[in-house]
């Protein structure tokens, strides 16, 4: 019995810790953390660097041209604990991802979750956008309904 309680408590504490690994080198005020948008792009570079990682992707525009988008993620020490390494997003790979945009409208933001070809969620997020399990579950439902932005999904729920 004692062992069960000990194991349970350590496991619960571990679960709690996993929710607190976001690492912050600077403030996140430049991101609109309340707006979440989903796009698909092709990896140009995955800069798995300190103090923050950056995911650079080409995203197709309506006219067929590409725009390079830049997304900031967490630091390697945090990401490794979530199973993400410097090889996770290889150049040329197709990634569907959710992000919180830069407030000034430039093509970039804070990365939330990301999915590669296997359709499994990854969480490369830092404090600027929520890429965690609960948000992934919410997005699974929203994506199934065809939504690609939290604004339209929440508006639909409010109707």
């Amino acid at each position: 019995m004692n062992k069960i309680f000990t194991t349970l408590s350590v496991a619960l504490a571990g679960a709690a810790l996993s929710a607190t690994v976001a690492q912050a080198h600077h403030s996140f005020a430049m991101f609109d953390g309340k707006t979440q948008i989903v796009k698909t792009g092709t990896v140009v570079r995955w800069a798995f660097n300190n103090p923050h990682s950056w995911l650079y992707l080409n995203v197709k525009n309506a006219d067929g041209t590409d725009t390079l988008w830049s997304f900031e993620g967490s630091a390697p020490t945090g990401l490794i604990q979530r199973g993400i390494t410097g090889d996770t997003f290889k150049p040329g790979a197709t990634v569907t991802f959710m992000y919180c945009p830069l407030r000034d409208g430039r093509p970039g933001g804070a990365i939330g979750w990301a999915k590669l070809d296997d359709d499994k969620y990854l969480n490369p997020a830092d404090g600027g956008c929520n890429g965690g399990d609960e948000n992934q579950k919410k997005w699974t439902d929203w994506l199934a309904k065809g939504y690609t932005s939290s604004t339209e999904a929440e508006a639909a729920v409010g109707k």
Partner: protein
Amino acid sequence: MKIDANLWRLAIAALALSAAPSLSSAQNGGFGAGYGPPLKVIPPPKQFASSEEHYKYLLEQAKGGTKQTLATVPRWDGLWVTAGNTHLSAFITTGNFDGKVIEGVLTPAYEKAYKERWRQQTEEGQVHYDRLGHCEPPGLPRFLLEPYTHEFINLPQESYLINDFGPSIRRVLLGKEHSNLYGTHSWYGDTIGFWDGDKLVLNTKYLYPADFTRWSPMTSNQFETVEIWQLKKYDGGIERLEVQATFYDKYAFVKPVNVVYAFRHATELIKADYRVNHWECDQTSESYLDDKGVTNFHLPGEEGFHDGRGATMFPELPGQTRDPIYNTTLPTATTSAPPATTKGAKP
């Protein structure tokens, strides 16, 4: 008795779970909190006028300190990450972003300045000055709560306290007096220490003035510390390296401030075979303070963007890219061409 112990364990787990959401969203000073029993500040046995007086008292109590050998010196091998602290509770009523500045902890000038910083943080979402935002090192005391990887190497005559943020190394000379041949202050100052059994007692002086952390008061060039480091063991196989710190600052604090910080074994990183690597802010940080004083980023193709994985200053020579495995390219300030990967190119 068993029921009490079990209830205690469940309470700790429940506390950890309840704390997690607020910590992850608020990013307060409690990085890594929730591991082991709640941290408890152990204040000094009496108040001292200076860090030096405090340190000498502890040295006398320890009868000159424990002489360690390679066989006896406590080992804190491996990788460590932060496991919480009571930092913000020393300055903010709730210890979180819903609180207010505790009055009377700071001197009038520093309290006024801190109230403005706290207003910036709570109303605008960020403080206007954060040393890391423009590539200054974390320094001390920020070293104690940075959520990056730490290593602690103890030898009989010295200890090396390492944080991979920067990276930074605090060199601790044991059984020595302070020395300052540079004749100035620095980010990590000068640290001396001694062993008192399994406790490592430190005294640090000659530190730069800076922000304590992003959410904390400023500190002056008279900021000094006394720290007591000890590895503590708890039920459930929990090992926690705890640092009881007393901060002295005659310009910033009305009286010394006591805070406890903690580290835990980085088991996930060890399992992943992680190696601490050298890096510096220039490597990838694209953040800068814009003309409104707000942190922002330079993006590829914009003036000011520096490509941490691009070529060196000698791109005409073969093998000068800093991304030799994938050999990717990004647009630079002088290149307006669209970005492209160079698949198949040899680095």
